[in-house]
């Protein structure tokens, strides 16, 4: 693993929630595992049957619950097991990116990647790249945020 991605005790470790589609990306992640490809452990993976299953509410809830980044992994265009699901994911993704921008959340914290079942190493590349970006951006929740119902 590259030096700059090894976890350090005093440093911010971004937490990523990753929604991986069952037929492509999840298998790729499995492949990375069986191929013993080492990569940063920052992602918590949720398996969904299709990237099109990812409701926008899931993405927003992940951020609300403390995720510093959200990753959606699906099949390449044309390869979706359910024909159109990944296009639906793409449409929602592009619109919700505009929304989170208005909410003060950097667009790069939300990412959509096409990763096929054979692309085990691509999972590593994407996650490590995302971790690097998120370390640069910092945590989503700034430390010491006040309890909003308290008045100074």
């Amino acid at each position: 693993m590259p030096e700059d991605l090894k976890p350090r005790p005093d440093e911010f470790e971004p937490r990523i929630v990753a929604f991986f589609c069952n037929w492509c990306t999840y298998l790729a992640a499995d492949l990375a595992g069986t191929s013993r490809i080492k990569y940063a452990a920052n992602a918590e993976v949720v398996r969904v049957m299709c990237s099109g299953r990812v409701d926008v509410q899931f993405i927003l809830k992940a951020f609300a619950k403390g995720a510093d980044g959200v990753l959606i992994g699906g099949c390449h265009p044309g390869d979706c097991h359910y024909q159109e699901g990944n296009y639906k994911a793409l449409r929602r993704f592009r619109l919700v990116q505009r929304l989170i921008r208005q909410m003060g959340i950097e667009e790069e914290r939300l990412r959509l990647e096409w990763i096929s079942a054979a692309e085990g190493d691509r999972v590593r590349v994407v996650i490590e790249d995302m971790v690097k970006n998120l370390k640069r951006l910092g945590p989503l929740r700034k430390p010491g945020q006040p309890n909003l119902l308290e008045v100074a």
Partner: protein
């Protein structure tokens, strides 16, 4: 002994008060059946009268408006103590409402915008030995249930006369529904829309229009005409009044029970009707949604998962 009832407004526009008056003659029956002990728009009872009551003396308090100031928080807590039931009346109390758009900014920025750099009104001000106080603004706007436990919700901006009348009947009648119930049908607006029959099986849009860009046909589904309409994601009960006014639904009746974050779901429903599959084409279409937050979270930002724009 007639049940005691109170109506109060927090960060409110008074439209929910008007919604009660829009029961017209029916209001006289309700007024005859209850003892209204507090209703600042119409009656002269003061806060100290409420404070002097025993805890739980008020059968139902209907509270409209969002919570935005320290004083409104105090009043919400006071009414909760003095009431057996508290009902969030209208979308501001239920979800935060349009004042909830203030969650895109802060109290400081708001005060600076309104009063300029020269200075804003003070929480405490002394002059010649006299002390005057004003409540402080929170940085965020809150739906009522973020501040006190709420028993029931009456949705809408404002609730329609039928929804209000039905809610009063249920609450003042014998059988109370399960706590937490939203007192309106649990179906989407499209279900009861007068233009339902013109909604195609599958919508395939390649452009969104802003309302001033086209003349809307008054009989055809508005979403099918390319203007964002949130009917598919919004609870019914309003009588589709905006549609009858030939304007799209903006979502004021909030979510059905099958969604947790209204704006997220509304966004999904709009994203799903476009028929473009390449990234550049998709971006082009969404240029037509010029204000996603204002469109999808117009009434519900404080009650969304994210609650507010990220603070600096």
């Amino acid at each position: 002994m007639k049940p005691k009832v109170a109506f109060y407004w927090c960060a409110s526009c008074g439209g929910c008060e008007e919604a009660v008056l829009d029961l017209a003659e029916e209001v006289l029956n309700i007024v005859a059946a209850v003892d209204i002990v507090f209703w600042p728009v119409a009656l002269d009872f003061k806060e100290k009268d409420v404070a002097a009551m025993e805890d739980g003396a008020i059968s139902i308090s209907f509270v409209n408006g969002a919570v935005r100031t320290t004083h409104q928080l105090e009043m919400a807590r006071l009414l909760r103590r003095k009431s057996k039931l508290v009902v969030a009346f209208g979308v501001c109390a239920q979800l935060g409402g349009i004042p909830g758009l203030s969650n895109l900014t802060t109290a400081g920025d708001t005060l600076r915008e309104v009063y300029g750099a020269a200075g804003h009104p003070q929480r405490e001000y002394r002059e010649d030995g006299r002390t005057l106080t004003l409540p402080r603004l929170f940085d965020s706007v809150f739906a009522l249930d973020r501040t006190i436990p709420v028993d029931y919700y009456i949705p809408g901006c404002p609730p329609s006369p039928k929804i209000v009348a039905d809610a009063f009947q249920v609450l003042l009648g014998g059988e109370l529904p399960e706590p937490g119930t939203v007192l309106a049908p649990d179906r989407a607006m499209c279900d009861e829309c007068p233009r339902r029959d013109t909604h195609p099986q599958e919508l395939k849009l390649d452009r969104f229009h802003r309302v001033q860009e086209r003349v809307l046909d008054p009989e055809t589904c508005i979403l099918a005409q390319g203007v964002p309409c949130l009917g598919p994601a919004t609870r019914t009960g309003c009588g589709s009044r905006c549609i009858s006014g030939n304007m799209p639904c903006s979502g004021c009746f909030g979510p059905t029970s099958r969604m947790r974050d209204y704006g997220g779901k509304a966004l999904c429903s709009i994203a799903s009707v476009i028929d473009v599959s390449d990234e550049a084409g998709i971006d082009r279409v969404f240029e037509g949604i010029v204000d996603p937050v204002g469109t999808f979270y117009r009434y519900s930002l404080p009650s969304s998962f994210l609650e507010r724009k990220r603070l600096e």
